[in-house]
């Protein structure tokens, strides 16, 4: 029988995959993909907890996370297009203009 721990472990594995992606990616578009992976992993955990505790709050949080992801993608892709027009590449090393 599948318990809550199984879902939480899968969610943790997916979250760490996304985190590794955020840390090692140098391309901005790929960085966005890794963020989506992390948001989805959190959604699985919320849905699983909602099911096993018989509580709807987890699903509500998952809905708001989906709404936030949608607006993040809309604004982020607009910024990506502006950056690509300005610099001609999406590499983070090319975009680093502040020397600190």
């Amino acid at each position: 029988m599948i318990g809550l721990e199984h879902y939480l472990i899968v969610s943790a594995i997916l979250f760490s995959i996304g985190l590794v992606g955020v840390l090692r990616r140098r391309n901005l578009l790929m960085l966005f993909f890794a963020t989506e992976v992390m948001l989805n992993a959190v959604n699985i955990a919320f849905a699983a907890i909602s099911h096993y505790y018989n509580d709807l709050t987890g699903q509500m949080f998952a809905f708001f996370i989906i709404a936030i992801a949608a607006s993040e993608v809309a604004v982020g892709l607009g910024i990506l297009i502006v950056l690509y027009k300005k610099y001609g590449s999406l590499d983070l090393d090319d975009l680093a203009s502040m020397k600190g």
């Binding site: 199984h6 760490s16 993909f33 959604n43 849905a47 909602s50 099911h51 604004v75």
Partner: protein, 187 residues
């Protein structure tokens, strides 16, 4: 029984597809595997009895967000492999695993304290969609409206950011423009 098989199948496929998303050098492969992984995640939601969440996941993530990504990819050169300078990837892997472990411990600790009571319990007699609707439009009405305003702001921001100078070419080499112009002249 079927739930167990479905769970292990979905989790193995999702982990594999998201690994491809994170590791692939090609944007098209990464995007396709991300879309497939999101479809399988909606399968998780259906197993867990969150039918409405699964449908929203399919419509919003697989439908809207992936369509937005594929539209944005038309602006960038997607066929070229991405060259990335990865320095010290072993350190990054160790840091990622370690911080994920810390996060999981942090969030898992209160769950096992057995003090959680259901704030908005589910009703078995009515369907999941009706249950979600009742809670969303009574208890979560203000966050719902704030989320609506946030989506409106995001839409306006997206239009304004992406819509400027749409008539100019994005690609660096102007040979493609010349080609179009010569074909126009030939006609």
């Amino acid at each position: 029984m079927y739930e167990t098989i479905a769970f292990y199948l979905f989790s193995a496929l999702t982990i594999g597809l998201f690994l491809i998303t994170v590791m692939s050098k090609n944007v098209l492969y990464a995007m396709t595997s991300l879309a497939a992984g999101m479809v399988l995640i909606s399968g998780f939601f259906f197993i867990l009895g969150a039918d409405f969440l699964g449908v929203v996941q399919l419509i919003v993530y697989v439908g809207a967000i992936m369509a937005l990504y594929s539209f944005a990819m038309m602006f960038f050169d997607a066929t070229r492999d991405i060259k990335e300078r990865n320095t010290n990837s072993a350190l990054v892997f160790a840091l990622g695993g370690l911080s994920a472990l810390v996060l999981v411990l942090m969030f898992a600790a209160p769950i096992y304290s057995e003090n959680i009571k259901a704030l908005y319990p589910m009703h078995e007699s009515i369907g999941n969609a009706q249950d979600v609707g009742i809670v969303l439009f009574t208890k979560y009405l203000v966050p719902f409206e704030v989320a609506a305003v946030m989506l409106l702001v995001a839409m306006i921001a997206g239009i304004i950011l992406a819509g400027k100078k749409m008539d100019q070419s994005l690609t660096e080499d102007l040979s493609a423009d010349d080609e179009i112009l010569t074909t126009k002249d030939a006609k």
